[in-house]
């Protein structure tokens, strides 16, 4: 399906400053994202300005007064977002961020350095919004806004995965993700949107999830999961969907309903929920209306993010749940941790209010008393990450685990960028993994935790047409994975991120590292002993992938 680049050659170029101000005219094969079609951005449910025209990068068909509109949108952005304005002003170009970007490392393109990327729009800012830029022009690093500049802005705005690694190293915290995110918003005001992300945004605005799954399809997918679990465990398991009066609403990225290896994580969720219901009476429901955790709107603009995440709190209120658990996803947790309760009013239903007055799971299911979330969460937000939830259950000894069921795996853990740098969820997954498996190894220190490298496909860059960029961007992560593969014999790369799980199988194949990809909840599912169903630790014969657990003995 995808065209993999044959050979990657990283050519570093160091042009002089004058050339950096000139827009590039030649766009590399495999790095240029398609522009949206009218059916994506002129749809009833997602209507963007000037979305009714079919464009490509060589023929932008911009509205007549595009320059005026662009500058107007930019002025608005400067007023609406202090971060954007400040980051236009205070960069000193020290270069600390330059080699922190995986796309720069992989492409060698100087405009892919975070500072280079920001300078593309900063130079326009100087020309139209600062005195020195107006007077000294190019000598103050300013340049005219032309159609070529707009092309270049589009080209590079969609070569950033909003991973924020540069922001960590910047002495002023300049966050390229913030600059690029709002730049994409400005571009969308003159009709330029990226096709891959708007396909998903439009589908999610219309159906509730990125894949465009209708209610029956989603229920069917979950049902198939339950059937597979029957084969693996031998038990008749069940789950709820759209159920009013459930204790918890569970929201996962829609990739989990179909894609592999996301699927095995989904099986892990189902096992955990069944054990909790059977043993303690805690009910968890899925929702077809709020069926998308991952929010591609967060790649596009504040408004698009809000449009998509507005459904979830409403659904929590309609169903009358007490709190929300979110599944394994990367950008989703930037959205669900930092954005959602600013972009929306939190639920106001009685159950929600009552629970958050004393957020002890014992209030919902007596046996779970002692598991509390008020050390960091409140009813003004109400989301708990599935791995935080699992970690708490493990710590309070509410679930029984058999580590040895994961002995056929030697795992390493990849921190998704936004989970690490937009949320700070670093130790919880490791706590869970150490409790569900015996063989867990870390990748080199400078590639994990808050310094984690991006998978190269986040931020809307999971598009097939930019495969070259993706395979280059993932290179630092792959080198780290190869290191632990050789050193410890790691055979699975675990990551709680749907986009990672989609990108890594290609990347591992491309970089020729023969290991699998999975999610932490799959390992939890393997290790979880369904004591409430009468399961004994030694009963389970297969793991969630259907592989026999005791290979040596069987053969």
């Amino acid at each position: 399906m995808e065209e993999m680049p044959e050979k990657i050659e990283i050519r570093q170029r160091f042009p002089e400053w004058r050339e950096m101000l000139k827009p590039v005219k030649k766009f590399e094969e495999g790095r240029l994202s398609y522009i949206s079609l009218p059916k994506q951005v002129d749809s009833e449910f997602f209507k963007m300005p000037f979305g009714d025209v079919e464009r490509d990068l060589h023929d932008l068909k911009l509205p007549e007064n595009w320059k005026e509109l662009f500058l107007e949108a930019m002025k608005e952005t400067l007023e609406k977002n202090r971060a954007f304005k400040l980051f236009m002003d205070i960069c000193v170009r020290c270069g600390a961020c330059a080699d922190k970007c995986h796309y720069y490392i992989g492409t060698g393109d100087p405009k892919n350095m975070p500072v280079g990327r920001a300078e593309l729009i900063r130079s326009v800012y100087r020309r139209y919004f600062t005195l020195s830029g107006k007077i000294f022009g190019k000598w103050a690093g300013a340049r005219e806004l032309t159609e070529d500049v707009v092309r270049e802005l589009y080209y590079y705005a969609y070569q950033c995965s909003l991973c924020r690694r540069c922001s960590l190293f910047c002495p002023y915290g300049i966050d390229t993700a913030e600059i690029v995110w709002w730049l994409r918003r400005i571009l969308s005001r003159i009709g330029l949107n990226q096709r891959f992300m708007t396909i998903s945004i439009e589908a999610s605005a219309r159906t509730g999830n990125h894949l465009g799954l209708l209610p029956g399809g989603m229920a069917g997918a979950i049902q198939q999961g339950l059937e597979e679990l029957k084969d693996v465990t031998g038990f008749d398991l069940h789950t709820y969907i759209n159920k009013k009066g459930a204790d918890v609403l569970f929201v996962a990225p829609s990739g989990d309903y179909f894609a592999t290896p996301h699927w095995f994580v989904m099986l892990g969720y189902l096992l955990l929920f069944n054990e909790l219901e059977e043993k303690y009476g805690l009910t968890v429901t899925w929702s077809t209306y709020a069926s998308e955790g991952g929010n591609f709107g967060t790649f596009h603009s504040y408004e698009a993010a809000q449009l998509l995440n507005s459904k979830i709190y409403k659904e929590a209120e309609r169903l009358g749940v007490s709190f929300i658990i979110g599944g394994e996803c990367g950008h989703m947790w930037r959205d669900k941790h930092q954005f959602i309760n600013t972009m929306n009013n939190p639920p106001k239903n009685e159950e929600w209010k009552r629970f958050w007055e004393n957020p002890d799971l014992g209030e919902l299911a007596e046996g779970l008393r002692g598991v509390r979330f008020d050390s960091y969460a409140s009813g003004e937000h109400g989301w708990i990450h599935i791995l935080e939830f699992t970690a708490a259950l493990i710590e309070h000894k509410k679930i029984t685990l058999d580590k040895s069921r994961n002995d056929h795996w030697a795992a390493t853990y990849h921190d998704p960028c936004n989970v690490a740098r937009g949320m700070g969820l670093i130790e919880e997954p490791r706590y869970v993994l150490r409790n569900v498996m015996n063989k867990f190894y870390e990748m080199p220190e400078h590639t994990i935790k808050e310094k984690t490298y991006c998978c190269g496909a986040g931020g809307g860059l999971l598009a097939d047409e930019i495969m070259d960029l993706r395979m280059r961007g993932v290179m630092p992560r792959m080198m780290a994975a190869r290191h632990v593969y050789k050193k410890y014999g790691v055979n699975i790369l675990l990551t709680p991120c749907a986009i990672d799980k989609a990108q890594f199988p290609h990347a591992l194949e491309y970089w020729k590292i023969p290991i699998e990809v999975g999610g932490p909840m799959e390992m939890v599912g393997n290790a979880l002993v369904l004591t409430a169903f009468g399961e004994k630790p030694e009963d389970r014969q297969y793991d969630l992938r259907g592989e026999p657990l005791n290979k040596e003995e069987g053969e």
């Binding site: 950096m20 449910f45 997602f46 300005p49 007023e79 977002n81 971060a83 304005k85 400040l86 002003d89 170009r93 020290c94 600390a96 080699d99 922190k100 500072v115 020195s132 000598w139 103050a140 690093g141 924020r164 960590l168 190293f169 002495p171 002023y172 915290g173 300049i174 509730g208 209708l214 029956g216 049902q223 398991l237 069940h238 789950t239 969907i241 759209n242 429901t285 077809t288 209306y289 698009a304 449009l307 507005s310 930092q338 309760n341 600013t342 972009m343 009013n345 050390s375 960091y376 969460a377 409140s378 935080e388 700070g424 969820l425 130790e427 080199p444 400078h446 935790k449 808050e450 630092p476």
Partner: protein
């Protein structure tokens, strides 16, 4: 005449531009809204009680107001983010520390601080004791005659090192704009002229102090009288410094104040405990796109998918789920 222009008029204008400019920039930044709480988390969040946080986590991923202040102080006084710097090598998995930039930056900025403290003797009467003491300590009083101020030489060295980086490292050369070189050259000119005046062509510092004291109390008549009697070498230093003051608010040098405003550093990572309200979207009951956005006089409205709309679109399938009592179980075979 030269004395009056460069000793009285120019500094007044420069200081006025500096004060007004800096205040303008601060107000200008403060007037922009902060729509979202977006700290860059550089460590473990505060979460469940048994998930331990180190002291570093508390500053890199602050939860309370105090931790956030601590993060800002470390950032401003220790350049903590720069201290994390690494360099990527294409040919190996390992990393090497690349903290030269941090070292040069610290060298320059702390020398600058010491130099400024020393210069306060020209503006304060009597000279505070700690200024005297600091000057004596850094000059190793008694070792050299005349005493040599270390900070005055270190600042030149720091500036040269920072500039050489921009000239000889290919990546930094590509990034540097003329204004980046200009700021360094200007600072070099000021510091070198200051050193020359200190060690070679001496100016009458008593008079300089008298001039500055009179300028400060706006006794223009006296200032004019003194100004003409000071040696020209002083004015080289003085005019350049005045120019720097006037240039400051309009340049990247404003990073000195801007670092205080940066939302990725000065906000706590407590999103789930305390809600942040977006000033331009303070009642988000209806998404902005559903209200419609206006661009170029035209309004673009996206239809809102509320539950009722959703139900009317997919009634059959949703009813089927309701019929099964919202329960999904494996199909009976």
């Amino acid at each position: 005449m030269i004395g009056v222009i460069f000793g009285v008029i120019v500094p007044y204008i420069a200081v006025a531009i500096f004060v007004v400019g800096v205040i303008y920039r601060f107000i200008n930044w403060a007037n922009s809204a902060v729509p979202l709480k977006i700290p860059t988390t550089g460590g473990q969040q505060k979460s469940l009680p048994f998930i331990k946080r180190t002291i570093y986590d508390r500053f890199d991923s602050p939860y309370t107001w105090w931790e956030t202040v601590g993060r800002m102080i470390l950032e401003i006084f220790m350049f903590r983010s720069l201290l994390k710097n690494t360099r990527y090598y294409l040919d190996r998995v390992s990393q090497k520390d690349a903290r030269w930039l941090w070292l040069f930056a610290i060298l320059f900025h702390y020398s600058l601080l010491l130099v400024l403290i020393r210069h306060s003797r020209f503006f304060l009467q009597p000279v505070p004791e700690f200024v005297e003491m600091l000057s004596e300590i850094e000059a190793f009083k008694g070792v050299f005659i005349p005493s040599v101020y270390v900070s005055g030489l270190a600042i030149v060295a720091g500036l040269f090192l920072l500039w050489l980086r921009r000239i000889f490292l290919s990546r930094e050369r590509t990034l540097s704009l003329p204004s980046d070189h200009f700021a360094l050259i200007l600072l070099l000119a000021i510091t070198i002229s200051g050193n020359i005046m200190r060690y070679f062509f001496k100016a009458d510092l008593e008079k300089v102090k008298e001039l500055l004291m009179n300028l400060m109390v706006f006794d223009v008549g006296k200032a004019v009288a003194i100004a003409d009697s000071i040696e020209p070498i002083f004015y080289v230093h003085f005019v350049l410094a005045s120019f720097l003051l006037a240039y400051f608010p309009f340049s990247k040098l404003m990073h000195a104040g801007g670092v205080l405003f940066t939302p990725t550093r000065n906000m706590p990572n407590d999103n789930r405990a305390r809600r942040h309200v977006n000033p331009w979207d303070s009642d988000p009951s209806v998404p902005i796109l559903a209200k419609g956005i206006t661009v170029g006089g035209k309004t673009f409205t996206s239809k809102k998918l509320d539950w009722d709309t959703y139900y009317s679109m997919y009634t059959d399938q949703l009813d089927e789920i309701a019929e099964s009592d919202y329960k999904i179980a494996p199909e009976e075979l």
